[in-house]
């Protein structure tokens, strides 16, 4: 089925940029889109799938009803029943290797499936020991999730797996809202026609994406920027190296996307909220929104 064009999405700049950055540098580690219902989270993510260059592995959907055997892979029943042969049927993790694994309503995913994801996402390898099979295969995927925190919170370990986290808010601007509805309506009336109308703009974004990927390795990161990134992480008390690594990778991808050869403070400032907001330790007595805390720390530390 034809997807909604990426370029036709109104607003959601943060989410769109985060998705592009994760596609430019897969090692950033995926995107979590958390926020208001009906704000178009899944639309944006599915739109990315249509945009990605064809040689990329697909965006694989992990539906909530998936069974464990389909996720990790299992005995090929067909081969077993028909030929009496013991054969491995690869699962969604194998399909998603080199691609994206998308989970809508990720906070509703069953615990035992979350466990599997955590394990595989950490090791980049899927080890199957079931049905008398013993198989291991690479499973390096970019994890993309969406959900609404009011339905239930995400397990902290899984939260940490996401490189970037975006707060998706319902647009309040009247003109934007009208555009959203108008485009959605046009799309529903004639999907192919609407997609064709936007194909040019989508292709332009795809071209930027490919160029950014190619230019990524040439982007230099000055020590001064590295230092600033470290200072920011310390100021926010984000544990571990993951925060700092993600911060640097995302800033570099941002520079590449802009066509710049050097990472600058501006890049760092632009991506820091998405890279850090979900890594803050929660203080039960502090009501301050995580995004606000990050913004504040950015103001304090990331000045020239």
């Amino acid at each position: 089925m034809t997807a909604f064009p990426f370029s036709a999405i109104v607003g959601q700049d943060d989410l769109r940029e985060a998705l592009l950055l994760a596609a430019i540098d897969r090692s950033i580690g995926g995107v979590l889109a958390f926020g208001d219902r009906g704000a178009g989270k899944s639309t944006a993510i599915r739109a990315l799938a249509a945009l990605l260059p064809e040689k990329d592995a697909a965006v694989v959907d992990l539906p909530l009803g998936a069974t464990e055997d389909r996720i990790v892979g299992a005995l090929d029943l067909e081969a077993a029943l028909v030929q009496g042969e013991k054969k491995f049927q690869p699962g969604l993790l194998a399909d998603a290797d080199n691609g994206f694994l998308y989970i809508d309503e990720v906070n509703l995913l069953e615990d035992h499936l979350v466990d599997i994801l955590l394990d595989v996402a950490a090791s980049g390898e899927n080890i199957v020991e079931r049905d008398g099979l013993s198989v291991r295969h690479p499973a390096r995927f970019v994890l993309v999730g969406s959900g609404n925190p009011e339905e239930g919170e995400l397990r902290p370990q899984l939260l940490d797996r996401f490189g970037l986290a975006v707060d998706v808010r319902t647009p309040t601007d009247l003109a934007d809202r009208m555009d959203i509805v108008r485009r959605r309506d046009a799309f529903e009336q004639d999907r192919e026609g609407f997609a064709a109308e936007w194909a040019g703009r989508d292709a332009e974004i795809a071209r930027r994406l490919v160029e950014a990927r190619a230019g990524l390795s040439d982007v230099e990161t000055p020590d001064s920027v590295l230092e600033k990134a470290a200072t920011l992480c310390i100021a926010l008390g984000t544990d571990g190296l993951r925060a700092e690594l993600t911060l640097m990778r995302a800033a570099r991808a941002k520079a590449a996307l802009e066509g710049d050869k050097t990472v600058e403070l501006g890049h760092l400032r632009a991506i820091a909220p998405a890279a850090l907001r979900h890594r803050l330790r929660k203080d039960p007595l502090d009501d301050t929104d995580a995004s606000v805390r990050v913004e504040r720390a950015i103001e304090e530390t990331l000045t020239p």
Binding site: T67, L109, D111, D131, R155
Partner: protein, 643 residues
């Protein structure tokens, strides 16, 4: 999830004060409400049939009975004969809904055969989920993504397939009380919501429309587009009504188009937009969780000259009939006098009209909700619905293990066949009618994970001078508990009591975000209506038990209640009421922790604690850390005892 009705309770009094009296003093009005609700239900059914893809479906709150049956019958009648009409219970297996291995066919054929799920079977028709208030979140998530994509992805039992699943979803909700409703996740994705409670059997007449009307409207549908004025008015109405979701806005546009098509028009007019806003926003206007917060700006004065508190009820029925004009015009056009505002409206007037129409709908529904609650109370008094017992063979399936089915285990047929399948060629050929030979070593037993969720109900004394400190500590404890609640799957709610009655401060939730929002700025001081709080806690515990959670009531009080259940001051009457409420809780078997927050342990608190069958702990200096630790430990042990 309970936001909708819970919030409505909060919103209604202001609106209702003008309305309730009218219902009381003019009995005929209550009949009018029933008829008006039924008209709305008819329009919703018609619009859904015309544009099921654009509108998603309907949340139908109604008890089983002839009214609901007539509505569903009539809905089905409007669809073409070959459209598929499917229904499934909320507890249906995911395999049945999404699709999975068809064992019989697989064995017959000797190769895996996919059995289509109900979602795929319902493609192009109507899918009714019965008792939707019981839908588990994961099933709701599957339905939600099918609604979003029009496709059901089967990734089960070795199959990987995407099948078209574009259906009109009817969430048939028999929930009792505000605690039991179909998941928000799904309700939000449906254009319409209606509560049929006020409709009497007499009022539930067959629709005037025919399938041919609908077919003609469908035919017209794609040609109809809104004028820029109408488009703008629709866009402005959402935020003014406190429903900021673009999804709802989109539904209004689609509903307006469907209504215009049904009217036989070639363009969306103000009447269509107003009626569509009324139908879509009536519930959302108060339903949106953010409706009373920053995102919902107060409507500008000129848009809403009437404060919603005092829209006279006459005006509402006026607006109601205006809004229902499109469909009623053939049958009772004479009843509705032509309205000048509708003939040639300016954009601003259109906007006013729409907002007013939706407001009226909101009021009408609030009344419906009240009636609903009254009826429910009676039903409740008559007898209690089955609180689910837990057996060894229930819980979340967690795969299979080798073994035999003696000792109460449940055979996992599929896993057993899977185990046997690879050996087929190696083993002796099966006897004639059997397609496959199963050896004892192949037998697999289903295993279930029984992670009983606990539901911790905090009952916090917010009266008197120490109130603020106590509330703050309780709030801290709630947040601490919620922090690790994901791992433990515990729910937390807060009932605070002060003044004349107890108040539900936080509905059961697992969301830290929601807890913070609800607990911010809770007031303190005044009398001590402990009896009312116990009653509320008992009621909540019962509701939680029905949902399969294990309630644990945590009381923070010095036990010195001085307001009785009628809200009158008086120590003795209060004590007697407290005892009664306590005995009821004890009889229900809920676990209770009583923290005596008095400066020194009081005999009265100990007494009450004994009547509750509670664990009594003196805690003169409540501190959230200690509280969270004790409660966390106790819930764990209660859960273990349950398993």
């Amino acid at each position: 999830m309970n936001g909708l009705i819970g919030r409505q309770v909060g919103v209604t009094p202001g609106v209702g004060s003008g309305v309730d009296t009218s219902v009381g003093s003019h009995p005929s009005d209550s009949a009018d409400i029933g008829a008006a609700v039924w008209r709305r239900a008819e329009r919703m059914a018609a619009a859904l049939t015309v544009d099921p893809g654009g509108l998603g479906g309907i949340w139908l709150r109604a008890f089983p009975g002839p009214v609901r049956d007539v509505w569903r019958q009539e809905l089905h009648r409007l669809w073409t004969e070959d459209a598929s009409m499917k229904s499934a219970p909320a507890h249906a297996d995911i395999e049945r809904l999404a699709g999975g291995l068809d064992l019989a066919a697989t064995l017959a054929k000797g190769a895996p055969v996919l059995r289509r799920g109900v979602l795929a079977e319902a493609d192009g028709g109507v899918l009714t989920i019965k008792m939707a208030e019981r839908l588990p979140p994961s099933t709701a998530g599957i339905l939600a993504s099918a609604l979003d994509e029009g496709v059901i992805r089967v990734e089960r039992d070795g199959f990987s397939k995407a099948e078209p699943a574009r259906f009109c979803l009817v969430l048939s909700d028999e929930g009792v009380g505000p605690d039991e409703t179909a998941p928000t996740l799904l309700r939000e994705r449906l254009a319409f919501a209606i509560d049929l409670a006020p409709v009497s059997v007499r009022e539930a007449k067959p629709f005037d429309l025919t399938g041919a009307d609908v077919a003609a409207a469908r035919e017209r549908l794609t040609r109809i587009s809104p004028s820029p004025d109408i488009e703008k008015a629709i866009a402005a109405a959402g935020p003014a009504l406190g429903a900021p979701s673009p999804r709802a806005h989109f539904f209004v546009l689609r509903a307006a188009r469907a209504l215009a098509a049904l009217r036989g028009a070639e363009a969306i007019e103000a009447v269509d937009a107003a009626a569509a806003c009324d139908l879509v926003y009536a519930l959302r206007a108060t339903a949106s969780p953010t409706s009373d917060e920053t995102e919902a700006p107060e409507p500008p004065a000129e848009t809403a000259p009437d404060n919603s508190d005092n829209i006279p009820s006459r005006d509402q029925s006026q607006n109601q009939s205006d809004a229902s004009q499109p469909l009623d015009s053939q049958s009772d056009a004479s009843q509705t006098p032509p309205d000048d505002a509708l003939q040639n409206p300016t954009p601003d007037e259109v906007s006013d009209l729409i907002v007013a129409a939706a407001r009226a709908g909101t009021v009408a529904f609030s009344q419906a909700g009240d009636l609903d609650r009254r009826r429910m109370r009676r039903l409740r008094a008559a007898g209690r619905g089955g609180a689910a017992g837990r057996s060894k063979t229930s819980g979340r399936p967690k795969g299979a293990r080798p073994g035999d089915s003696r000792g109460g285990g449940r055979l996992d047929l599929l896993a057993t066949l899977r185990a046997a399948a690879p050996w087929r060629k190696l083993r002796p050929a099966p006897l004639a009618p059997q397609p496959i030979r199963v050896y004892p070593s192949d037998i697999r037993i289903k295993t279930y994970e029984q992670k009983a969720a606990a539901s911790v109900i905090f009952v916090v004394d917010a009266s008197g001078s120490a109130a603020l400190g106590r509330l703050a500590e309780a709030k801290g404890a709630v947040e601490r508990l919620l922090q690790d609640c994901y791992a433990r799957r515990d729910w937390v709610s807060v009932v605070a009591f002060r003044g004349r009655a107890a108040e539900m401060l936080l509905e059961p939730t697992r969301s830290l975000v929601r807890a913070r929002r609800s607990l911010a700025g809770a007031p303190g001081g005044g009398g001590t209506p402990l009896a009312s709080a116990l009653l509320e806690a008992g009621r909540l515990a019962e509701a939680e038990t029905e949902k399969g959670r294990t309630p644990m009531i945590v009381i923070l009080s010095d036990g010195r209640g001085n307001i009785d259940l009628s809200g009158a001051p008086g120590r003795d009457a209060a004590a007697a009421d407290e005892k009664r409420a306590a005995r009821r809780i004890a009889a229900d078997g809920a676990s209770v922790l009583f923290f005596d927050t008095g400066a020194r342990p009081s005999p009265r608190a100990k007494d009450l604690s004994a009547a509750l069958g509670a664990d009594y702990t003196p805690l003169p200096y409540a501190d959230s850390r200690k509280l969270a630790a004790i409660v966390g430990r106790e819930t764990q042990s209660v859960k273990r005892a349950r398993q």
